[in-house]
Symmetry: C2
Subunit: 295 residues, 2 copies
C-alpha cells in the first residue's frame, strides 16, 4: 500500500466529518471560534485514522466509525489546548500558529478545551454517531476512550509531567508519564475502533498491545524531534523540553538509546498486529512511519 496517499485520504475524511460535526456558526460566539481555531489548526489526525484502521483490522467498515473517531480527535485537541496554557507548558506556538490562549486569552482557552472535551461526549452519545452500531458496544468503546483520557491516563500523565518539571527523574518516571500522557489514548483509539467493529477478545488484545507500543514509540519520536527536528517543518521551536526541564526519553537515556528503544517498540508492535493478517496492513505501515520520522 501507498501510506502517504492512504493517510492523505483518511485525513480528508476526518477534516470533512469534523467540519460537519462542528460547523462555523456566528451564533456560537467567541467560544465556538476558539474551539474551531484549535480543532482546524492542521493536525495529522493520527488518532482518528488509527481508530478507523483498528476497525478495519478486525473486518469492519472504516466509515462506520468515522464520527466516533472524530470525537477522539476532539479529545486530543482539548488536551493540547490545556497543555499549552501558561499554568502548564506555557507554549506560544503549536503547528506553526499562536496557541489558543495567545489568541483568545487564558480564560477562553480553558473554556475552549472544556468545550472540545464536552463536544466529544456530545458526538459519541449522538444517535447519528452510533447509527448502525450496537449501543452496548458504543458504550464499551466510549468507556475505553474515556478511561484513557481520565486521571488513570492522559490527565494523570500530564499531572505527573507537571510535577516532574525541573526535578529530573528516572527511566521508570518518564515511562510512567509517556504511557499515560500519550500511549493510553493512542492505544484506546486503535482498540475502540476494533470494539465498535465487533472484534473478538484476542483481536482486541492485539490492538491494545500494538497501540501501547506504537504510542510509546510515537512519544519517544516526539521527544527526539524536539532535540533534533527542523523547527520550520514542525511549526514550533525545538529545544523547548530541555529549556523547561521536561522529563524526556532521550534526556534520561541519551539519543542513541532512545532511538533504539523506539525501533524495538515498533518492531514489537508490528509483530503483534501482524497476527491479525493482511487487514492490519495499514497499522503495520503507520508504525513503520512513526519510527521513520526519527531514524
Amino acid at each position: 500500500m501507498e501510506l502517504k496517499a492512504y493517510l492523505a485520504e483518511r485525513r480528508q475524511w476526518v477534516e470533512d466529518a469534523l467540519e460537519g460535526l462542528l460547523p462555523s456558526d456566528e451564533a456560537g460566539g467567541t467560544i465556538l471560534k476558539a474551539m474551531r481555531y484549535s480543532l482546524f489548526a492542521g493536525g495529522k489526525r493520527l488518532r482518528p485514522i488509527l481508530c478507523m484502521a483498528g476497525a478495519e483490522a478486525v473486518g469492519g467498515q472504516p466509515r462506520k466509525v468515522l464520527k466516533f473517531a472524530c470525537a477522539i480527535e476532539m479529545i486530543h485537541t482539548y488536551s493540547l489546548v490545556h497543555d499549552d496554557l501558561p499554568a502548564m507548558d506555557d507554549d506560544d506556538y503549536r503547528r506553526g500558529v499562536p496557541t489558543n490562549h495567545r489568541v483568545f486569552g487564558e480564560g477562553m482557552a480553558v473554556l475552549a478545551g472544556d468545550g472540545l472535551l464536552t463536544e466529544a461526549m456530545v458526538v459519541i452519545t449522538d444517535p447519528a454517531t452510533w447509527q448502525g452500531l450496537e449501543p452496548a458496544r458504543v458504550m464499551e468503546a466510549a468507556n475505553l476512550v474515556m478511561r484513557a483520557a481520565s486521571f488513570r491516563g492522559m490527565v494523570g500523565g500530564q499531572a505527573a509531567d507537571l510535577e516532574a518539571e525541573g526535578k529530573g527523574g528516572e527511566l521508570s518516571d518518564v515511562e510512567f508519564i509517556h504511557m499515560r500522557k500519550t500511549a493510553a489514548l493512542i492505544s484506546a483509539s486503535v482498540e475502540s475502533g476494533g470494539v465498535l467493529a465487533g472484534g473478538e477478545p484476542n483481536q482486541l488484545t492485539a490492538l491494545r498491545h500494538y497501540g501501547m507500543r506504537m504510542g510509546m514509540a510515537f512519544q519517544i519520536a516526539d521527544d527526539l524531534l524536539d532535540v533534533e527536528g527542523d523547527p520550520g517543518l514542525m511549526g514550533k521551536p525545538t529545544g523547548s523540553d530541555e529549556a523547561k526541564g521536561k522529563l524526556t526519553y532521550p534526556g534520561v537515556v541519551g539519543i542513541a538509546q532512545a532511538k533504539a528503544k523506539a525501533s524495538q517498540l515498533v518492531r514489537e508492535a508490528i509483530g503483534i498486529v501482524s497476527t491479525l493478517g493482511p487487514r492490519a496492513e495499514a497499522l503495520v505501515e503507520i508504525a513503520r512511519f512513526v519510527v521513520r520520522r526519527v531514524s
Copy 2:
C-alpha cells in the same frame, strides 16, 4: 413530606455513591487528591438529587439512576473548579475552604477539573452504571446532559459571562448567561432522570420546562445571596459579583424585581410539574425551597 429530612437522606446516598465511584487511593497521586478535594468539599448535591427526583416523578426507582446522577455532580464540580481559576472568576474561597488552585496550584486545578469531567463520562459509560437500564436510553440521557454542559450550555454561558465582565449589559444578556451557565445543567439533571426511568415525551417536556424555570430562579437566588446573604453561612465573601463587574439579575433590574422574578419562575415551575401528580411532590418542594432561600 419533610423536605429537610428528604434532602439529608438523598444527599447521604450521593456522598456514599461518590465515595464508591472515586475512592481515595495513594497510587492516584496528587491529581486524584485534587479531584477529591473539590468533589468532597460539601456541596448541596442538588443536581443529583434532582436527577433522582426526575426519575421518581415518572414512576422510576431513584436508586437505579444514582450513579448516573453522581456523574452529573462531577460535571458540576469540574465547572466550579474551572470557574474559580485566576484566568476566570479568580475566587479564593468556595464552600468555606480555599479554592482548588489555591491549594494545588493553577495547572493542577485545570487538570483536576479535566479529571472530574472525564470521570463523569467514565462513570456514565461504565456497565455498572447502566446495569438494569436500556443502553439506548442511557445514551439519550447522556447526550442531553452533555449538550447542557457543552458550548451550547454551561461552557457557552461561562464564556459569555467572561466576556461581559466589567462591560455591563441588559436583561437579555443576563438571561442568556444564566440560562446557559446554570439552568441548562439543572434542567438536564431533572430531565435525564426522567429519560432513564422511561418517561413519556409529555412527561419529559414537563420536567425540562420545570428545570429551566427552577434553574433560572436558582441562579437569581444565588445573585441575590451575593448581595444580601450571610458570608458566614455561605462560606465565601458577599459582594464579589459587584466588585468584579459581573452581570447579575439584581444588578440589572434591582433587588425587588429580581425577587419577584424568582418567585414567578418558581410558581410557573410548580404549576408545570404538578401535572405529573403526587409523584412529583419532591420537585415541587425543592422549587419552593429555592425561592425561600431569598424571600
